[in-house]
């Protein structure tokens, strides 16, 4: 069977989505998404622009907000607070992971350019 190959797109800081795209992709309602922006859970690239654009990483955050709101029956304010804590935990986990990855290290980095073979 011949199956077409689909491209997977990164959701990161290097691509953008519009406000309306973010609504569609996250499942959030317009007022809830605006409230999340008001509470600082999501930040448009240029908050003073007439039409907001977001990094595509905001899709990950907005979908998380939608899930938390739906599954815990929380309002946008509570979701914003929860997202803040989740974000802090993720940052600490990432730092811990980085420390573990370099667990043996306690010297300063010095480098010589390697020669490719």
């Amino acid at each position: 069977m011949n199956i077409d190959t689909a491209e997977a797109l990164r959701l990161d800081e290097h691509s953008q989505v519009s406000f309306s795209q973010l609504l569609v992709l996250s499942g959030l309602s317009d007022p809830d998404l605006r409230e999340l922006v008001d509470h600082g859970a999501l930040t448009p690239i240029n908050p003073s622009a007439s039409s907001w654009m977001f990094t595509s990483y905001c899709v990950v955050v907005a979908r998380k907000a939608y899930r938390l709101s739906r599954d815990f029956e929380l309002d946008a304010h509570a979701v914003s607070i929860l997202l803040g804590f989740v974000e802090k935990i993720e940052a600490l986990e990432s730092e811990l992971h980085a420390l573990r990855a370099g667990a043996l290290a306690h010297g300063t980095a010095t480098a010589k350019d390697p020669v490719s073979r």
Binding site: A6, A8, R10, D71, L82, A101, A105, A109, K112, R117
Partner: protein
């Protein structure tokens, strides 16, 4: 159709009150919700809990579920003969033959009682909606090797997804999707595959497929974001005199010059040898030095070490004396 014991999943009695069901759901949601839980198999457990709550929180669905009888979890069963007339009246299951239930998932059956489609956008509830209904999004966890993350790869996913017949009844069907994963993805990264979720209905757009990337642990390399770490064992004389070693990298071995006087724990940075993405700054590869001593030495080696010990003024514990004098 396989039976699921929703009461057992929520840890409540069959005659539990709506309040008790809600309380138990909240407790389990806190424990297993994939966005806040670190439990093993959290996502799988939460799906079960969520599915059970979705049915038991709704009086109509709960009554319909109760009338299916009590069976062992995972046991194949069919609804009683008069079930669809009684509970499916006006639903897609009205007057359905007994054999027609065989490839239907219990959750889809119960969701269908309230208007056909079980789940809408982002897994949400869309039952009974008028107008275009977007297809559901699918989510899948993808485990790839570090080499696949480094070079990019193509994967095939086999999903079991609901497909809706003309009456709006969901049937589970296998669905294979081939996806190109771009190079440089990192552990925990989320990817979106547009239009590869479920089909929309009434003119609605197709859903998307979301991939949660997990990079498998590697026997040599550890990852942190786009940076890679590898242990570099050196013999004491290599660390003292300096040397050139062949260092493995995901792109192939490179010759690394180790400077004289290299200490244990020191990190040698190989700029741009980590995970790279087109148009972005690449990660680095760090070689972390470990000084390894031979545990078995021959007479000649023992003699050379003895000579070194006698002629060297090196005191690795000099700072102890400084500390004691302070």
């Amino acid at each position: 159709m396989k039976y699921k014991d929703y009461y057992k999943i929520l840890g409540v009695a069959r005659d539990a009150s709506a309040d008790d069901i809600k309380k138990s759901y909240r407790k389990l949601a806190r424990k297993y919700h994939p966005d806040v839980s670190k439990e093993k198999n959290a996502e799988e457990n939460f799906k079960e809990v969520s599915e059970a709550y979705e049915t038991l929180r709704d009086a109509e669905k709960r009554a319909a579920y109760d009338q299916l009888g009590s069976h062992a979890a995972g046991q194949e069963f069919r609804p009683p003969p008069d079930w669809s007339q009684h509970f499916g009246s006006g639903s897609p299951f009205d007057q359905m033959g007994q054999n027609a239930f065989d490839d239907i998932d219990l959750a889809d059956l119960l969701a269908g009682l309230t208007g056909g489609r079980a789940r809408g956008r982002a897994g949400g509830r869309a039952g009974g909606r008028e107008g275009p209904i977007p297809g559901p999004d699918y989510e899948a966890m993808v485990r790839i090797t570090l080499e696949q993350a480094f070079h990019g790869t193509e994967i095939e996913l086999d999903l079991s997804v609901p497909e809706y017949d003309d009456r709006g009844i969901a049937h589970r069907v296998p669905h294979r999707i081939k996806v190109r994963i771009p190079k440089g993805v990192t552990d925990g990264q989320k990817l979106r595959v547009p239009g590869k979720g479920g089909k929309g209905t009434q003119g609605g757009r197709a859903g998307d497929l979301y991939l949660d990337i997990q990079v498998q642990s590697h026997p040599l390399f550890r990852t942190s974001g786009q940076d890679l770490y590898v242990d570099l064992p050196l013999a004491p004389w290599e660390a003292v005199l300096g040397t050139s070693v062949e260092l493995p990298t995901p792109a192939g071995a490179v010759a690394l010059k180790v400077p004289a006087g290299t200490r244990a724990g020191q990190q040698l940075r190989l700029a741009g040898r980590g995970l790279s993405r087109p148009g972005e700054k690449s990660g680095d590869l760090f070689a972390i030095v470990a000084i390894v001593v031979p545990t078995v030495v021959n007479e000649r080696e023992r003699e050379l070490f003895r000579q070194l010990s006698e002629s060297s003024n090196f005191d690795p514990r000099a700072h102890f004396k400084l500390g004691a004098a302070a």
